[in-house]
Amino acid sequence: MFAWGADNITSVDLKNGKKIFIVSGCASCHSAKKSSDWNSIILNGGVKIETQFGDFYGPNISPDKQFGIGAWTLEQFKIALREGKSPNGYYYFPSFPYNSYKLMKEKDIADLFYFLRTLPPSSLPNIQHDILFSKFVRIFMPLYNFRYNFLSPGIHTDLSEGEYLVKALGHCSECHTSRDIFGVPKFNSYLSGGSIYEKGKIKTPNITPDKSGIGNWSDVEIVNYLRTGFTPDYDSSGGLMAEVIENLDPLNDNELMAIAKYLKSIDPINDKN
């Protein structure tokens, strides 16, 4: 496994936990009843995520001990986020972006864990995913993870601020990178646009610094977009991206600028689709 270094937890910062919670977009999948009152949001799951592989439903991650994750330890929470494995031993489907969250800092995971504990519990049972041979497919998830790790350019934890926000918390690649037939991201198409959601009907844009992506956007225009949802042409973002932009609200201008700088630093890829 990965060496996470000197991230020993000595104290819990709930304010940071709340920030990590919002920026990571947990509520987007785990709260059917949308609310911007982050201190009392009920994470009872039920949000439907339509993909080419079937319909997934975000589970209850409220602090309820029976139906949510209230009985989990921090260690179990970390394993879920970093290895995509539940305390019961089964593997999650990658609709839960653990391959992005595994880059999260130890401290951020702990702060997030304790922040989740402060939210109201819900005894709403999980909705079963609607995918063909769900139980059978789940058995093969370690193979998916193996393929992912084999093809991935490698994991390093000394990420710059912008890279950390894009790769780990923002998990931008989950939507903006196309996938192969097994659902593993095509790493050589990193952030050049994907089409996973709404059964492939939605094409997410290329956000590499190519002209077919955001190559013509200045750093300030990227920051402005992430802050307001308006493109340089004053078009307004929609759907999931509008929600993502709301989730970026706790980030200050320097952090948004770090995202912009990182996006402008990656390899430009021409979006041929």
């Binding site: 709404e198 009907k201 939605i202 307001t228 949802g229 308006f230 042409d233 004053y234 078009d235 307004s236 973002s237 929609g238 759907g239 509008a242 929600e243 709301e246």
Partner: protein, 143 residues
């Protein structure tokens, strides 16, 4: 002969419903293009990137308003799933909520177009209110 007429009527009705759906989509896209064009004029003035011109802002908002007033009528009773469009199918399952958002949007633009701004800050406030309407509707109903 009867069979031929029956077949002809079916083909004609399918064709006309498809043309009708395309026309609606075209009207929606044209309206949104006018909105985008208007925002491209209003945005830089609101953000202080260009000099504020009150009469230009007023005229732009007038065009904006004309484009969006009939907007909600461009959504037929049944969605056309085979057509390429940014409109989410949720519009048809939450028509009441969608129409409410469009009504709010139209009222906001209408109110703004009647305002007499004394400075950029006052105009910016109206612009941001319009932008907030764009966002709340797009978040729910744009794919």
């Amino acid at each position: 002969m009867t069979k031929f007429i029956f077949f002809f009527v079916i083909v004609l009705s399918l064709l006309s419903s498809s043309i009708f759906a395309s026309e609606n989509i075209k009207k929606r896209q044209d309206a949104m293009q006018t909105v985008r064009n208007s925002m491209k004029i209003l945005g830089p003035m609101a953000m202080g990137q260009k000099d504020f011109d009150s009469s230009l802002a007023k005229n732009t908002l007038k065009d904006f308003l004309i484009a969006i007033k009939p907007y909600k009528t461009y959504f037929p009773k049944v969605p056309s799933e085979d057509q390429k469009t940014d409109a989410s199918l949720d519009i048809w399952s939450n028509k009441e909520d969608f129409n409410k958002l469009i009504n709010n949007f139209v009222s906001t633009v209408e109110l703004a177009s009647k305002n007499e701004w004394e400075n950029t800050e006052q105009f910016k406030s109206d612009f941001m209110e319009i932008g907030s309407n764009c966002k709340s509707c797009h978040r729910k109903y744009r794919r």
